[in-house]
């Protein structure tokens, strides 16, 4: 039995809008083992991003619990989570919007170390070089600004930034859907090699079933804030059970 890294037990999140309480996530439960990979599949508005934000401590959980290595961290702030050893890296969908255009690449990827007190520029630059090497980017990019990089390079920078501080868990929010297909494949290959090279767990949300299958061994399907299907990714692909999942599999464009 592998250790459970992250556990969600009946997690619900509600937002207030125009004085009315609107549930966006209802009773979501899963267990992610150390080194495990979980895909969260669903369309816009299904609650995928809210789930990721709740796990990262960026959205308030209205009921239910989140356990990190067995300890409840549901109500803790993102900062308190980091101190208690919950190391999480986040990667967002749009690498054009997620990198500060005024910062050089070495600054961007080492922000986490800087926040945690590392102010020695030489050390930060060394660290940045190591992080770029992990995502197969040349050290020449250290002094560039984001605008000088291609979309694929920018997403690699975003992944390098998420790897700063050696997180045990990467939370990926549609990491490939803003990219060209050739670049998507390169990013998926990078994530696969990171997954197999270290003790890294991954939760990835996407509406792209092929991208989820490339990275995640297990998956949840969300519809209107509820889990409608769960299982191994290959089983969901081959024998979708819920009506919605069947539609999703049928709607996914393929070359053949």
């Amino acid at each position: 039995m592998s250790e459970s890294l992250l556990e969600a037990k009946g997690v619900s999140v509600a937002y207030w809008r125009r004085g009315r309480r609107r549930p966006v996530l209802q009773d979501v439960s899963f267990t992610l083992a150390e080194g495990g990979t979980l895909g969260v599949i669903g369309e816009s508005g299904a609650g995928k991003t809210t789930l990721l934000r709740a796990l990262a401590g960026l959205a308030r959980i209205s009921s239910g619990r989140v356990l990190w290595q067995g300890r409840s961290i549901g109500a803790a702030s993102a900062r308190a989570r980091w101190r208690s050893g919950m190391r999480v890296g986040l990667v967002f969908q749009d690498p054009h919007a997620s990198l500060d255009p005024r910062q050089r690449i070495w600054r961007i990827v080492t922000e986490q170390a800087y926040i945690n007190g590392q102010r020695n520029t030489a050390r930060l630059r060394d660290l940045a070089g190591e992080l770029l090497a992990r995502v197969n980017l040349a050290p020449e990019l250290l002094d560039r600004f984001p605008h000088a990089l291609s979309g694929g390079q920018r997403q690699r920078v975003a992944i390098a930034r998420a790897l700063c501080g050696d997180p045990g868990l990467l939370l990926l929010d549609e990491p490939t859907s803003a990219l060209d297909v050739t670049v998507q494949v390169q990013i998926l290959e990078l994530l696969r090699s990171l997954k197999s090279s270290g003790n890294l767990s991954i939760i990835m949300i996407s509406h792209d079933l092929h991208a989820v299958r490339a990275i995640c061994s297990d998956a949840l399907v969300l519809l209107n804030g509820r889990v409608v299907e769960r299982g191994t990714t290959s089983a969901i692909f081959a024998h979708p059970q819920a009506d919605y999942t069947r539609q999703l599999v049928a709607a996914t464009p393929t070359l053949d």
């Binding site: 369309e43 816009s44 050739t182 494949v185 999703l248 709607a251 996914t252 464009p253 070359l255």
Partner: protein, 273 residues
């Protein structure tokens, strides 16, 4: 010379189009290097390429709506036999929307956030369907009903932010067809949508194209999407058409090295397990 009898079956013909873009140093450099492309009547033709390939600027050049830093340096663009490059700005107004309509990627930015949908739809119909007269309101409702929207009255009174992304894009798709244009240029029309909404939007495009007898230039970076709707495809790379042919043939036996890479990537993504 173009033979008129041949042109009758061609909705769009691009000949030797060269586009220049002005760099930050003020100098003009070529970004599209003399491309040729045809779209027949009732045909849905794909133009595939990655970001920076020049496909979107080519699309904008058809109705001459490129941004200020891009200009046509050579070549001709014929819409149903009319050379749009020879028209003045006033004559172009008669082409835009009526002969050539566009569907863009982002349905949120393509609609005016301060206007109700009914007003926007009415504006389009007033300009391009003068034959409707006082029947415009009824036409607007029937367009919305044809999209599977049960409550057209509500949609007409709604602002864009009140509609979901999929609904907005379906409204934009329907508006493009409303004027019965000879050609619709769709630039990544489903890229911002989820997979299930994308499938609905693609089905809508195919059925409306058949119903209205219109031709379409369908621009995308995704070969799998192009395969769903396009009978023929052009592949564009770094401002050049590197390959063209029936979609099935291009995907099953790509000849150009770049197309091979594109197909290999799409297959690799599907083959990960």
């Amino acid at each position: 010379m173009v033979d008129a009898s041949v042109m009758g079956d061609v909705a769009l013909r691009i000949e030797g189009l060269v586009l220049h873009a002005r760099g930050s140093d003020g100098r003009w450099r070529p970004i599209v290097h003399g491309i040729d492309l045809d779209v027949g009547r009732r045909e849905i033709v794909g133009l595939v390429g990655e970001s920076g390939s020049g496909k979107s600027q080519t699309a904008l050049a058809i109705a001459r709506i490129n941004p200020a830093g891009v200009r046509r340096a050579a070549g001709r663009i014929m819409c149903r036999g009319v050379d749009v490059s020879a028209l003045n700005e006033r004559q172009m107004q008669g082409i835009r929307g009526r002969e050539v309509a566009y569907i863009f990627q982002e349905p949120m930015t393509a609609l005016n956030p301060t206007m109700r949908l009914g007003v926007m739809i009415d504006d389009v119909l007033r300009v391009c369907r003068p034959d409707l007269g006082s029947g415009r309101a009824e036409e607007a409702k029937s367009i919305l009903r044809s999209l599977g929207l049960d409550d057209p009255e509500w949609v007409l009174n709604a602002y864009p932010h009140q509609l979901s992304g999929g609904m907005r894009q379906r409204v934009l798709i329907a508006l493009a067809y409303a004027c019965n244009p000879a050609l619709i240029v769709a630039d990544e029309p489903t890229t911002a949508l989820d997979v299930t909404l994308q499938a609905q939007a693609l089905d809508l495009i195919v059925s409306l194209s058949q119903k209205h007898d219109s031709a379409m230039l369908f621009i995308s970076h995704d070969l799998a999407v192009v395969k769903r709707v396009c009978s023929r495809v052009y592949v564009m790379c770094e401002g050049r058409i590197v390959e063209s042919g029936p979609t099935e043939a291009v995907i099953s036996a790509p000849k150009d090295a770049y197309t091979q890479r594109l197909v290999a990537s799409a297959r690799a993504k599907e083959a990960f397990a």
